[in-house]
């Protein structure tokens, strides 16, 4: 009769050794992203991320040491069986931490060239600066931001402060994914940063409640607009920082066919695309008055007439459009406890990115606006708003605008280069 205890012991000891050895590979972060890619981060971000990942792997290593000690001490079949179960738990923990390290490694590794690294560092700065504008006056810290590029149409965020896959490690940096096509108009960074801000301040829930109350006379309206609060919050955040540039960029991302524009997904936190663009143009109208957003709205309505919407959705869409002015007022001008009793426009004044204000910036700064380190560093958010505005309103100058944009973005990113 084979000695089952001995067989179990052999397998468990072998597995312990295997998983402990696998932990060693996790400790070298250059197995997940190249040294050059790590250098593509700003130094403080590099330090924070590495510390977080080292801590997670360190915890895993200590758990492995505990397993080894248990293996050395186990004598009875019951002890070997308990150890076998612990090995399974350890394996699961290893996979979770590997997922986290892999995730960040992939994100860092998207900085594949010095140019791309500089552009992404610039995006890091833009996102962080947008967060600072709203969090610091409220006495909240600004988390580090790591922007990375991946395929697809939409951006996304792994927020800072979330528990990672191992259930223990908190993410120290907000990891924002942007798409390659948006790399040259990264207002999507601001939208994702808006998610971080709303999460940190608890604004999503308060906005949902406020929208529900404002639209209480129409329960269906109230219910769905409240459900969309988190995405509306992020769109609002992007608007107050970038104005029309954010609206135009959003339009370009979601202007698909009728099916996608009128798509209704019960569990989707995003508003129906048709309404989302009109919400943005309404924000512009109610903040800046008349402007190119009027044409955008008109063109949008013409391209997507309600007669082509699904018939069961049309009444809802009509009622929502009629309610847009009130919805915009709630988003922009309602005081919230999340903002210490202020409205968002009292914290970040969207008039600074009105066409008039942007023209004033161009006049005051002169040609140095896009070349001087002083202006680029100081006004990078407004430069983003200006570049996006010009891209949206001067299609004939698209190439020149794109070149100018890349020039100042590279300058912004290279000024934060990690030369250690």
């Amino acid at each position: 009769m084979p000695d089952r205890s001995a067989a179990t012991r052999t397998q468990v000891v072998r597995q312990v050794a295997h998983w402990r050895a696998a932990t060693v590979a996790l400790a070298d972060l250059e197995n997940f992203a190249s040294a050059a890619a790590w250098r593509g981060l700003e130094r403080y971000l590099d330090t924070h991320l590495r510390a977080q990942l080292d801590d997670a792997v360190g915890h895993l290593r200590r758990q492995g040491d505990v397993l080894a000690a248990q293996a050395a001490a186990a004598r009875s079949p019951a002890e070997w069986e308990a150890l076998r179960r612990n090995v399974i738990k350890f394996r699961r923990l290893h996979q979770q931490i590997e997922t986290a390290v892999d995730f960040y490694g992939d994100a860092v590794n998207s900085r594949t060239s010095p140019r791309l690294a500089a552009l992404l560092r610039a995006c890091d700065t833009l996102a962080r600066r947008s967060l600072t504008a709203i969090l610091v006056p409220l006495g909240r810290p600004t988390p580090p931001v790591l922007t990375y590029v991946d395929r697809g149409m939409g951006a996304s965020i792994l927020r800072a402060g979330l528990r990672l896959w191992d259930g223990r490690t908190l993410s120290v940096a907000a990891a924002i994914k942007i798409t390659r096509h948006n790399l040259y108009r990264p207002t999507a960074c601001l939208h994702e940063a808006g998610h971080q801000a709303a999460f940190a301040l608890g604004w999503n829930e308060q906005l949902a409640t406020a929208l529900g109350r404002e639209l209480a006379e129409a329960p269906a309206l109230a219910r769905h607009w409240a459900r969309w609060a988190s995405e509306i919050a992020a769109d609002t955040f992007a608007f107050v920082h970038a104005g029309h540039a954010a609206v135009a960029a959003l339009h370009d991302v979601i202007a698909g066919d009728d099916t996608s524009v009128f798509a209704w997904r019960p569990r989707d936190p995003h508003p129906v695309a048709y309404l989302r663009v009109l919400l943005g143009t309404e924000m512009a109208t109610r903040t800046f008055g008349s402007g190119p957003w009027d044409d955008l709205a008109a063109a949008w309505r013409q391209a997507y007439p309600l007669t082509r919407a699904p018939s069961e959705l049309t009444p809802f869409l009509k009622a929502s459009v009629a309610a847009l002015p009130r919805i915009v007022d709630v988003c922009l001008r309602r005081p919230f406890a999340a903002f210490d009793g202020r409205s968002i426009v009292e914290l970040v004044d969207p008039l600074r990115v009105s066409p008039t204000a942007l023209a004033g910036l161009v006049r005051d700064a002169g040609p140095a606006l896009f070349t001087s380190p002083y202006w680029i560093h100081r006004e990078c958010l407004r430069l983003l708003a200006l570049s996006g505005y010009r891209a949206a309103t001067e299609p004939g100058a698209a190439t020149a605008v794109a070149e100018q944009f890349e020039h100042w973005m590279l300058h912004l990113g290279n000024g934060t280069e990690n030369t250690a």
Binding site: T132, V136, P144, G366, S372, H377, L412, G415, N418, A420
Partner: protein
């Protein structure tokens, strides 16, 4: 062979080589050496001024930083193995020597070819054109090499112009091509000086190069002419006095001495009458260079090790006086002293006995560990030092480090006594008591001192750094949170007359209230700002700083009073250690700020997307041409601010006020207030000239160059001139 004219009528012997039989001097000069030397000195000074190039100093500084970084890494890994450090430096610099010699050879080829094909003496423009054809390049991927070779090429062109200038006057010199070829012989001595500087082996000397050159040339002539006077000694002045202040010791040799030496040798080569004279001059330079090697810092490192080892072996009640007596002589050579040999011996004996008695209670196996623990508890964990580090891997225990600090700091203060003071025993005792007290308060945590001896302060202690390898600076163990109001920032003077407000605005765009973390450092022999920056990531804001000195600001008594509420924490030093260069004095204290902005703190290197120039003011007065120039350099921040004001057609008084905030404090206080009288002149000048020059201001700000410079020039008999140029290096 074409001989060209020299700028020195009568200074040089006949180029046909009959030196020794014919005096070059007019009779009245020969009769009295004084006026001849003074006149020659002035001429040489002008030539040296023409050669001097700040870019050359910058390039040399980068080389020294890179070489020194390699040496320090080796020293940290292997402990005290100077040979390995030296090899690392020489390995690093060897390719540069080859590239530099090759560059000068190509330049010489180009000029010789032009000279041989030209029927007349080449003009400056011809020389430029000839040398432009020689390419400056290096295949080595080393930015510091490329920067240096560019500066060397510029230097060679400047030497050529010096020669060409001479050709426009009277007398004869050797052809430029030959002189350039001889410059190749100066490359190795130059690189050797760089290596010595990187290895802390260049003595911190104050030289007067013009006088040197004039004496050498003049001395040879008078000697050869059979004059009875001996060749004037080349002075090697180790004393540095500023007014009536006690002498201070520079922490190390200055980078500028490399260029000074090179220029002096280049001028001598240029003025030499014959190839034979050139050979003699070169040989003398090489010998002088070899003699100028100073191992006192390395000896101090070794002495510290011996002391630490012997200290750990001391038993309770054992007298440490012999240890101190053996250690002190290693400390003296790195400090400036006004004492003669006799005076020094008396001080060493007195101090050793006095210190021995004071530190005796701190020795022994029962006392040292608690002392070490007290020091660690005072915050040394902030500098990554744990109590169990003692004696492992090249580090010393905190207890013995504190004792070494006590001895060295006390000695530093003591060595500033004069021979007359030393004769008075009561004065010696008084000074010893005060010096030991000050050193103890600085180096020991309050908990080990008597309450009456403690001083209110931040509760930390000074820790010798880096923790592995030779100690090269000290860091205060506590990082202090400070709040700096705009008014306070305007009242704190930093480097080159700048206020802290200017620095914060220039680098970080901060002109409001600032919350920051204050990091403090103390200079000891061998400290350089670059060394601190390499070991302290906070210097430079997380990126390797290109100008480490600019981020390490002087903690004067005034700055300490404002930032810490305690002027005693600061140290006042002579003005020359408060400039933009890397010169620092032993005992000087420095600070850097981390501006707090959430979890992301920014150092004074800032994140300014490339802008590095700081605002400042330069005054230059030339009595010979009756010209005075005040150059106001605006950082990129200030340049864009005033340009925006001009574009917006804001009243010019706003711009004038912004400029006044920059030049007023500088002119009032720099150089002991010597330029205070210029304040009113500059104010009037700008008020009358600037209103009509807005277009130039905005154009200069639109230029990609970093910052801009507004220059006010007064010339006797000519209208006032105001120029506005892009770039904050212009003047």
């Amino acid at each position: 062979m074409v001989y060209m004219e020299t700028p020195f009528p009568g200074l040089l012997a006949d180029p046909a080589g009959e030196a020794g039989t014919d005096t070059p001097f007019l009779s009245q000069y020969f009769a009295d050496e004084g006026p001849a030397l003074a006149s020659a000195e002035r001429e040489v000074e002008q030539l040296l001024e023409g050669l001097h190039d700040e870019e050359f100093d910058t390039a040399v500084a980068r080389l020294v930083e890179q070489a020194q970084a390699r040496a320090d890494v080796v020293a940290g890994i292997d402990g005290r193995h100077p040979r390995q450090s030296e090899q690392a430096v020489l390995r690093y610099l060897r390719p540069l020597t080859e590239d530099a010699e090759d560059l000068l050879s190509r330049l010489a080829d180009a000029v010789e070819a032009a000279e041989n094909s030209a029927p007349v003496v080449l003009s400056a423009a011809d020389l430029d054109a000839a040398m432009a054809r020689a390419e400056i390049s290096t295949a080595r991927p080393e930015p510091a090499f490329e920067e240096f070779l560019g500066a060397l090429a510029k230097k060679a062109k400047a030497v050529a112009k010096v020669v060409a200038k001479g050709a426009a006057i009277v007398s004869k010199v050797l052809p430029t091509g030959i002189i350039l070829r001889q410059l190749i012989r100066l490359v190795r001595p130059l690189v050797e000086r760089v290596a010595k500087l990187a290895l802390d082996r260049l003595p911190p000397q104050l030289r007067e190069p013009a006088r040197q050159v004039a004496q050498r040339l003049l001395g040879r002539r008078t000697r050869n002419a059979g004059a009875s006077g001996e060749t004037a000694d080349l002075e090697d002045d180790r004393q540095y006095h500023e007014g009536d202040e006690a002498p201070v010791a520079p922490a190390g040799a200055e980078v500028s001495t490399v260029q000074q030496e090179f220029d002096a040798q280049a001028v001598m080569l240029a003025l030499a009458a014959s190839p034979a004279e050139q050979e003699l001059l070169l040989a003398e330079s090489v010998l002088d260079g070899r003699a100028a090697e100073d191992f006192s810092l390395l000896e101090l490192d070794a002495a510290r090790d011996r002391f630490a080892h012997a200290w750990e072996q001391l038993q309770e009640d054992e007298d440490p006086t012999p240890l101190v007596e053996q250690f002190l002589p290693a400390v003296l050579p790195v400090l400036k002293t006004a004492l003669t040999v006799i005076g020094r011996d008396k001080v060493v004996t007195f101090l050793a006995r006095h210190l021995g008695r004071l530190i005796a209670p701190l020795v022994g196996p029962k006392i040292s560990p608690p002392l070490s623990k007290a020091i660690v508890d005072a915050g040394m964990r902030l500098v990554a030092l744990e109590a169990d580090e003692a004696g492992t891997g090249g580090t010393r225990g905190p207890g013995v480090e504190a004792v070494l600090t006590l001895i060295e700091d006390t000695a530093a203060e003591f060595m500033r006594l004069s021979d007359e003071d030393v004769e008075v025993t009561a004065l010696l005792e008084q000074e010893a008591f005060a010096a030991v007290g000050r050193a103890a308060r600085a180096g020991f945590p309050p908990v080990v001192l008597r309450p009456s001896a403690r001083r209110a302060g931040a509760g930390g202690t000074w820790v010798a750094m880096p923790r592995r390898g030779p100690r090269r600076y000290r860091k205060y163990s506590r990082i202090i949170d400070v709040d700096i109001s705009p008014a306070a920032a305007r009242g704190i003077r930093t480097r080159a007359g700048r206020t802290l407000s200017t620095v914060l605005n220039d680098r970080l765009g901060h002109d409001g209230h600032v919350r920051a973390r204050l990091h403090l450092y103390q200079v000891i022999p061998g400290t350089t700002p670059a060394r601190i920056a390499r070991n302290e990531p906070v210097v430079g804001g997380g990126a390797a700083p290109t100008e480490p000195a600019a981020q390490l600001l002087p903690l004067t008594r005034e700055a300490a009073a404002t930032l810490l509420g305690d002027p005693e924490f600061g140290r006042d030093v002579p003005e020359r250690f408060l400039g933009d260069g890397a010169a620092v004095a032993v005992g000087q204290r420095l600070y850097t700020l981390e501006i707090v902005d959430g979890p992301h703190a920014t150092g004074l290197g800032g994140t300014r997307a490339g802008a590095t120039a700081l605002s400042g003011v330069t005054v230059h007065e030339d009595p010979r041409t009756a010209t005075a120039t005040v150059a106001i350099r605006l950082s990129e921040t200030l340049a864009q601010t005033v340009a925006a004001q001009a574009r917006a057609r804001r009243p010019v008084s706003v711009t004038l006020a912004a400029l006044a905030r920059l030049y007023d404090p500088w002119l009032s206080r720099a150089d002991g207030g010597r330029h205070a009288a210029w304040r009113a002149k500059v104010r009037r000048f700008l008020a009358t000239q600037l209103p009509g020059r807005r277009a130039e201001l905005t154009a200069a700000a639109a230029d990609p160059a970093d910052g801009l410079t507004i220059t006010c020039r007064w010339r006797s008999g000519r209208p006032l001139e105001l120029t506005i140029v892009a770039g904050a290096g212009g003047a």
